[in-house]
């Protein structure tokens, strides 16, 4: 039972982090053009040769 003292804050932290990350993606406009983003990955980057 004593482990709860560590585990619960860790669990809170991890879940909180995930939520903050998601909210960041929303604010970062990652859901505004799903079709375009899905297509963009197929385009070749011309200006950045490796």
């Amino acid at each position: 039972m004593e482990t709860l003292i560590f585990l619960i804050p860790i669990a809170f932290g991890v879940a909180g982090l995930a939520m903050v990350a998601f909210i960041w993606t929303v604010k970062n406009r990652q859901y505004e053009d799903p079709k375009g983003d899905a297509s963009r990955i197929l385009l070749e980057d011309e200006d950045k040769p490796l």
Binding site: A11, A18, I23, V26, Y31, E32, D33, K35, G36, S39
Partner: protein, 725 residues
């Protein structure tokens, strides 16, 4: 791209360029026809190649394109022209209108939904051990209460935050003195939170913290889907506004040409109209000869000659020659504006329609409130005390919470419009499907709906292959609809570069020193009997070759009409074209009732008449002249090649060549309606079972959680059945 779509030359977008604080310029465009990866790459790369352009980004989901640059000498018309040259339509967008497009509401709902969903999972992790320990008796009251407090720590703040949409909507409605669905929801949320906190503080066995966030999560999914569907129709309406904001080239006193917004054109001003331009305002021609495509305005398929003193109506297309026109009416009372006003009036009458979900809500609120109140009073009378009474009343509110009801309609509409989208039908609003399912009468426009809306060669057998190939070379150099029909038939190939368009007569060129002409009979020196729409081709002194045209029915018109008749729907044709043409087409399609030479106002009046008779009418039309009728009908569909105003005024747009899309849409909408009704029946049945359990006080937290999630899952799965035939 549809080659038959009227060509749009670059409207001068200077009036739409927005200047930022740091000297940066930006231009927003509505790009039409871009649907695939290649389009995206082609357009972005193409515009980036213009010297000076720093930013070029196309949103493939909404069709909005934004370009940014710093160089003040850069001509924004180059950007528009570049996109048009690549084969897409580009229309400048008024930035202040576009501002409101960024969908902040959807973003907020998405965040509320995530907060509710994530905290639901977390709270479940904490309360499930308590439930299991309750069965096996392995947890003391101390540990149990500790877990309850942990659950409260998450559920209370998360629930308060994710509940904002419900609380604010309920409060707004209560202030106005009526109760919507959000009132019992808010009441249930607040009551549950308060009682659960009280129970935790008093070491009770049961709390309902997980119910708070779970409820919000399921309800928010429904809200989010619903919002997305409504947003689609809002965007369509904004595009109509954007389309009216095209510019006109006004010739000023000193002879220079200035591009101004159409809304700023004054009466009496002289406007230059190039071949391929749309007429910006009503006016009279003072110089030049040309031909005009009036098909979107009158439904007439033949190109009409334009000369000095011809009256031009806003929205028609100038085909072959440059014209100077004197504006007779300003944008506000032009023909286009009258049409726009009629459309608006029609849409207002449409908003009277009460959506199924709202009907259900009207029934739901008093029933739920009544049941909760009766439970409370009942338990008080039974002498079980205040605590038991309020807990059971609260359980009734939780268990009846309309998770399934909130999902019932949007889930079905999302799936149904997704299925139609795959088949090339764009559904602009969710309730359009509901309305479509109820129709019992269909009014078709002729030109462009029953027929292809473009001339097709009908005497191919009389023309030799060499003559067709030679004529096609000349035809490719012309904008005239008949020439285009020949070019379309011959397929891609070379064109004569130095061909001269002679406005009002035809097109001519020199090929190896021999004069080649295509156009009017008397111009090429041929005898015409003038019975059909025709064009003549002549090389030097060879025999003139006759090309005859007619607007033929779509391939599947006859089959589709037969299928629609089988559904028992009344069908009629309402066209602006001449009687003979309408009669032939209607008879060929198998439709007995038809009206010809109907003006846009006649069409709207006919729809009013049908509405007054209690008919539930579907209008299918493509022309500007159909727009008011499209708006007046209970529900309307326009083909993808339709006038922009008609596409905006209608509820659905189908692309492709098949009229069968109309039949398909009706069938899917009917299936969607039965799915929605099934979902309602299921919700009613679910409440019939669970409400008595709640009233008599047998609902424990695990039962509530199970019942709520299962009902939502079942409703969603039922909606997904629509994907199957």
């Amino acid at each position: 791209m549809d080659i038959a779509a009227p060509e749009r030359s670059a409207a001068d977008p200077k009036a739409f360029v927005r200047k930022g604080d740091k000297g940066e310029y930006s231009l927003e465009l509505l790009v039409k026809g871009a649907k695939c990866v290649n389009c995206l790459g082609k357009i972005e790369r193409g515009v980036s190649e213009i010297p000076g352009i720093e930013q070029a980004r196309l949103n493939l989901s909404t069709g909005r394109f934004i370009a940014g640059w710093h160089d003040k000498n850069l001509d924004p018309a180059k950007i528009v022209q570049k996109i048009i040259d690549l084969g897409y339509g580009a229309i400048p967008f008024q930035s202040d209108i576009a501002q409101s497009v960024s969908d902040t509401e959807a973003k907020k709902l998405l965040i509320y939904m995530t907060v509710a969903g994530a905290s639901m999972m977390f709270v479940m992790m904490l309360v499930e051990p308590v439930w299991l320990a309750g069965i096996f008796g392995e947890m003391g009251p101390g540990t149990r209460t500790f877990f309850h407090w942990l659950a409260a720590m998450i559920a209370i703040p998360a629930g308060a935050y994710a509940g904002i949409p419900f609380f604010s909507s309920a409060w707004k409605n209560l202030k106005k003195g009526h109760a919507n669905m959000d009132v019992p929801i808010s009441l249930a949320l607040i009551l549950t939170a308060a009682l659960s906190l009280w129970a935790t503080a008093n070491f009770r066995e049961h709390t309902f913290f997980e119910a708070i966030v779970m409820l919000e999560f399921f309800l928010l999914i429904g809200r989010y889907l619903d919002h997305k569907l409504r947003q689609k129709s809002r965007i369509a309406a904004q595009e109509l506004l954007a389309l009216q904001a095209v510019t006109a080239n006004v010739i000023q006193g000193d002879g220079t040409i200035k591009s101004v917004k159409v809304s700023e054109v004054k009466e009496g001003e002289i406007i230059e109209i190039l071949p391929g331009d749309r007429i910006p305002v009503d006016g009279v021609v003072i110089q030049g000869v040309s031909q005009g495509d009036f098909s979107l305005i009158t439904g007439e398929t033949q190109a009409i000659d334009i000369g000095i003193d011809s009256h031009l109506r806003a929205g028609s297309l100038n085909l072959t020659g440059k014209l100077l026109m004197k504006a007779t009416k300003v944008a506000d009372d032009s023909f286009l504006a009258q049409i726009a006003r009629l459309v608006e009036a029609g849409e207002q009458s449409k908003s009277v329609y009460v959506r199924l979900a709202d009907k259900a809500a009207q029934l739901y609120v008093p029933v739920v409130h009544g049941a909760a109140l009766l439970t409370f009073i009942g338990w008080l009378i039974a002498g079980k005390g205040f605590e038991v009474a309020i807990w059971n009343a609260c359980a009734v509110l939780i268990i009846t919470c309309p998770c399934a009801l909130g999902l019932a309609v949007p889930a079905v509409q999302v799936v149904a419009s997704g299925r139609l989208f795959k088949n090339g039908v764009l559904v602009k609003s969710g309730d359009a499907l509901e309305r479509l399912a109820n129709i019992d009468y269909i009014v078709f426009d002729k030109t462009g709906v029953l027929t292809r809306g473009q001339p097709n060669l009908i005497n191919r057998g009389e023309i030799s292959d060499e003559n067709l190939a030679a004529a096609a070379m000349l035809a490719r150099a012309s904008r005239h609809p008949l020439a285009r029909a020949i070019a379309r038939l011959a397929g891609p190939g070379p064109s004569i570069k130095d061909a001269q368009e002679v406005p009002g007569f035809g097109v001519e060129a020199d090929v190896d020193g021999v004069k080649v002409r295509m156009g009017r009979a008397e111009w090429v020196g041929a005898q015409s009997d003038n019975s059909e729409t025709e064009m003549w081709y002549r090389k030097g002194d060879d025999m003139p070759v006759r090309f005859a045209f007619s607007d033929t029915l779509r391939d599947d018109t006859i089959a589709t009409i037969a299928k629609l008749k089988k559904l028992g729907l009344g069908i009629e044709v309402l066209s602006g074209d001449k009687l003979g043409a309408v009669e032939t087409a209607a008879k060929a399609a198998g439709i007995e009732k038809f009206t010809a030479q109907a003006s846009p106002f006649d069409k709207a009046a006919r729809l009013d008449e049908l509405n007054a008779q209690g008919r539930k009418t579907l209008m299918v039309g493509d022309g500007l002249n159909d727009a008011p009728a499209l708006a007046k009908a209970l529900v309307s569909i326009a083909p993808g090649a339709a006038a922009d105003a008609s596409q905006s005024a209608s509820d659905m747009v189908f692309s492709g060549e098949n009229l069968n899309s109309v039949y398909e849409s009706i069938m899917v909408s009917r299936m969607a309606k039965s799915r929605v009704l099934e979902n309602f029946w299921f919700s009613a049945f679910y409440n019939l079972i669970t409400v008595p359990i709640a009233i008599f006080g047998f609902v424990t937290p695990p039962i509530a959680a199970f019942a709520m999630s299962m009902s939502s899952v079942i409703v969603s799965l039922n909606a997904l059945r629509l994907y199957k035939k």
